[in-house]
Symmetry: C2
C-alpha cells in the first residue's frame, strides 16, 4: 500500500452557522461560524484508499486557507506515501520552507493552517496503512530551531524510557479512557439561566472539570464564576479563559480579582505571541495558585520552545490544526516532557476533538506516562458530521477503534455545508433577503 501514489487532492470550504446560537462565543471571537478547510487525498489504490484531513477555522477567512491548500497541493500530488514517509522530516520541510511560499509565513498563520490540513490527511492515510515505532516517529520531526532545547537524542531517550509500562497504560486507556473537561457549559454569550441548566446537566453526566469564558466585563465574570463555583462545589475543577483579551498588567489585575473562585488556570490572558508577557503573568499569579495555559493560537514549535524556556506557561495546550500536524506536535509534546510541563490539548470547534484525542493518548501511553494535572478539552458540538465521532464515557475520551486520524466527514454533511453553495448557506442567504 505504501507504493500507492497520491493522484489527487481536493479541498472544500465547509462552514457551520454556529454564530446563530452564540455557540463558541468568547471575548475576541464574538460570532464564530465553526468551519473547516477539508482535504481529501485520493490514491491510485484499488481499495479506494483515501486520506482525510482538515484544519479548523471560524468562518470568514476559510476561503484563504483553501487557496493556500491549493497552492501547496502541487508539492503533494504525484508522490507515493513511501516517498513521503521515508523522509517525512524532509517532506515536512518541503511544505513549510518552500523557497517562495515561506515568505508569506514562515510557519505561521494561513500557510501553517493549510500545511496542517494537508499533513493531517497524510497522517490519516499513513495510519490506515501501518504502525509506527519510536525511531520512525523521531524521523518525522524537523528539529531545526529547537536543538537548543531538545536534541534528537534526547527525544529518542524520552520515547525509549516511556516504553516501560506502555502496555498497561494502553489497557487502562481502552478501559477507562482519557480524562476530559467541558467547555460547553459557559460560552460568553450564554445567559445565567443557560449556564445553570447546562452545568447541572453536565454534573449529572459525570463531568467534574469546567471551563468558563471571561474577559469582556469584570462584574459579569465575578457573577458567572461565583455562580458556577457554587453549582460545581469546592472540589470540582474550574478553569477560566480570556481568549487574549488583556494587556499584561490588566491580566494580572483582572485575574487576581477572580482568584477567590480558585481557577486552576487562566487561559490565553494576552497576545498569543507574547512569551515574556505570559512569563510575567505566570510569575505574578503563581502565589495565588493559578497557572497560565496557552497554545491554541501558538503557531509553531519555536514559540512553544520559548514558552517552556521562559516558564511562561504551566499547561501546554497543543492544537491539532494550528501547527504543522503530527510532525510538529510530536516535537512540542516531547519538549513539554523534557520541561516537565503537562499537555492539556485544545479541542472543540469542528473535528479538533476527533484529531487531538490521538495526540493526547500518545502523550500518555508513549511519552509522559502521567495523568497528573492532565486533561483534554471537550466540546459537545458537530460530532454528528464525522464518520467516526469521538466517544465520551463518564467524562473520558474512549480511544477510537477505526483506523486513521478520525477526521473523515460524512459526505452529505460536507455537501450541505459547503460555503457558499451548500443548501444550509443558500437557505440562510434567502432568509436574509426576505
Amino acid at each position: 500500500m505504501l507504493e500507492r501514489k497520491i493522484t489527487h487532492l481536493t479541498v472544500r470550504d465547509v462552514r457551520f452557522p454556529t454564530s446563530l446560537e452564540q455557540h463558541g462565543s468568547d471575548a475576541m471571537h464574538t460570532d464564530p461560524d465553526y468551519s473547516v478547510a477539508y482535504v481529501v487525498l485520493e490514491t491510485d489504490s484499488d481499495a479506494a484508499l483515501k486520506g482525510y484531513g482538515l484544519t479548523f477555522t471560524v468562518g470568514r477567512g476559510t476561503e484563504i486557507v483553501v487557496c493556500a491548500v491549493k497552492a501547496l497541493s502541487t508539492l503533494v500530488v504525484g508522490k507515493t506515501l513511501k516517498e513521503i514517509i521515508s523522509d517525512f522530516r524532509g517532506f515536512y520541510r518541503l511544505l513549510s520552507s518552500d523557497g517562495q511560499m515561506r515568505w508569506v509565513g514562515p510557519e505561521k498563520g494561513v500557510i501553517q493552517l493549510a500545511t496542517a490540513a494537508i499533513l493531517n490527511a497524510v497522517w490519516d492515510l499513513w495510519a490506515r496503512v501501518e504502525g509506527k515505532d519510536p525511531a520512525k516517529l523521531i524521523s518525522c520531526i524537523d528539529f531545526r530551531y529547537i536543538t537548543d532545547a531538545l536534541t534528537e537524542q534526547e527525544a529518542l531517550d524520552i520515547l525509549v524510557k516511556a516504553k516501560k509500562g506502555q502496555k498497561s497504560r494502553e489497557e487502562q486507556m481502552l478501559k477507562e479512557g482519557y480524562p476530559a473537561y467541558t467547555t460547553s457549559c459557559a460560552w460568553l454569550g450564554y445567559t445565567d439561566q443557560q449556564l445553570t441548566k447546562l452545568c447541572s446537566e453536565a454534573l449529572a453526566q459525570g463531568w467534574n472539570k469546567f471551563k468558563v469564558k471571561v474577559g469582556a466585563d469584570l462584574q459579569d465574570d465575578i457573577r458567572r464564576c461565583s455562580l458556577i463555583r457554587k453549582l460545581i462545589g469546592p472540589n470540582n475543577t474550574l478553569m477560566i479563559d480570556a481568549n487574549q483579551r488583556w494587556d499584561v498588567n490588566e491580566a494580572i489585575t483582572w485575574v487576581t480579582k477572580l482568584a477567590e473562585f480558585h481557577p486552576l488556570w487562566i487561559e490565553e490572558p494576552t497576545c498569543p505571541d507574547d512569551v515574556l508577557g505570559h512569563a510575567s503573568i505566570s510569575k505574578a499569579l503563581a502565589p495565588l495558585g493559578i497557572g497560565v495555559a496557552t497554545g491554541e493560537q501558538c503557531h509553531n514549535r519555536v514559540m512553544f520552545k520559548q514558552f517552556l524556556q521562559a516558564s511562561a506557561l504551566q499547561f501546554v495546550q497543543i492544537d491539532s490544526c494550528r501547527v504543522g500536524s503530527v510532525n510538529e506536535n510530536l516535537a512540542i509534546i516531547l519538549m513539554a516532557a523534557k520541561f516537565n510541563v503537562p499537555v492539556c490539548p485544545h479541542a472543540g470547534g469542528v473535528g479538533l476533538c476527533e484529531l487531538v484525542q490521538h495526540l493526547i493518548l500518545f502523550d500518555y501511553v508513549s511519552v509522559s506516562a502521567s495523568l497528573n494535572n492532565r486533561m483534554c478539552e471537550y466540546v459537545d458540538h458537530l460530532h454528528e458530521h464525522f464518520k467516526s465521532p469521538t466517544i465520551i464515557r463518564n467524562a473520558h475520551y474512549i480511544p477510537p477503534k477505526d483506523p486513521g486520524y478520525s477526521c473523515e466527514m460524512l459526505e452529505e454533511s460536507v455537501q450541505k455545508h459547503q460555503y457558499p453553495q451548500g443548501e444550509v448557506w443558500r437557505a440562510i442567504e434567502q432568509q436574509g433577503k426576505q
Copy 2:
C-alpha cells in the same frame, strides 16, 4: 476631500521573474520571483483621487495574499477617508481583529501582509489629501498588548520632545538625504567575479556600507567575506545576513568564525520568531563587537516589543509590508526610541525602498533625531516600474517630493507582469514548452 467615499478596491498579483538571474537569492530563498499584491483604492472624487498600496512577496503564495485582500476588502469599501482616520486605531483593529478572520492570523502571516497592502493604500490616499500632527499619529496606533513597554503618554512625550530641531533636520534631509547601504553587490547566488565587479562599481559610486549574504557554506562565506573586506578596506562598513539559516548554537559558532572580517551585524541568524534565541546570540556575540539585526519577518509589534525587552537585537529592521502598515510601524519606531535601539529598515524587493524611505525619514526628523548607527537598506532593482521611484544620490535616499506613499506603479508594468496572464509570464511559459 476627506468626505470622499472609497467605492472600489482592486488587487492584482504582479510578479517579476527575478529568479532567472539569481537576484535576491539567499540561504533560505534560493529562487525568489519578486512580486507584489498590488492594491488600488478608487474613490467617488471628481479629481480621480486614488490610493495605491502593495505588499511584497517572492512568487508562489502571492495568490493567497490576493485572496486575503479580497476577503478584507469588504471592511474598507463604502467607508469615507474621514470615517477611517477619525478613528484610525479602531479601523486598524477592525481589520486586524475581525472576529472571524483573526483566527487565521492573528496579526501574522498572510492576513497581516494583506492588511499591510490595504492600509498602505489608505495611508497613500490620506497622504495625498492632508498633513498630520503628533496627536493624530498617536491616534493611529493600537496600543493593545504593548502598554507594558510603551504607554500612549510615553509615545506622545517622545514625539513632542523631538519637535526640537525638527526644522533643521528636515532641511538637512532635503539637502543631503538619508544614509543608505547596498545589498545589490553580494547575493548568495553571485560568483566571486560578479562580487568583485559589483563591489568595485559601488565603491566608485560612493557606497561605503555593504551587506553580504552568508549561511549556506562556511568556507564559501569566509572566502566571500575576505574578498569583500579586502575590496572595501578596513574603514567601510560590512554587514552579514544569514536569512534564518541556523539553529541558535550553530549561529554563534558560525558567526564567531567570521568575526575577523568585522561585520557590524549578523542579520537573521535564526528563526525570526525566536526572541530568546536571538537574546542568547546577542549576548554571545557582544564581546566580538557584532550586533544582531532582525525584523523583516517579524510579524507584529508584540514580537518587536519582546525583542527590545529581552535585548535580543541591536538593530531594528522595520519592514513596510510585513506588519500592519504605518500604524504598526509607528508603534515599533516609538518603542525602539524608548529602548534606545537604532532603526535600520529592511528594503529592496519590489517597492519596499519606495515605501520605507518615508518611515525612516520620519524616524530621523520626528522621533530619534539621530543618525548614529543608522542606515536604510537599498537594492537597485525594479524601481523603473514605479511612478515616483526612489532617488539615490551619493549613497543617500533623497526625500520624495510627490504626494503620497510612493508605491503607485506604472500601469503598463502591472499589466505586463500580472500573473499568470501578463505577457512576461506568457512568454516564459511558452519558452518552457519549447
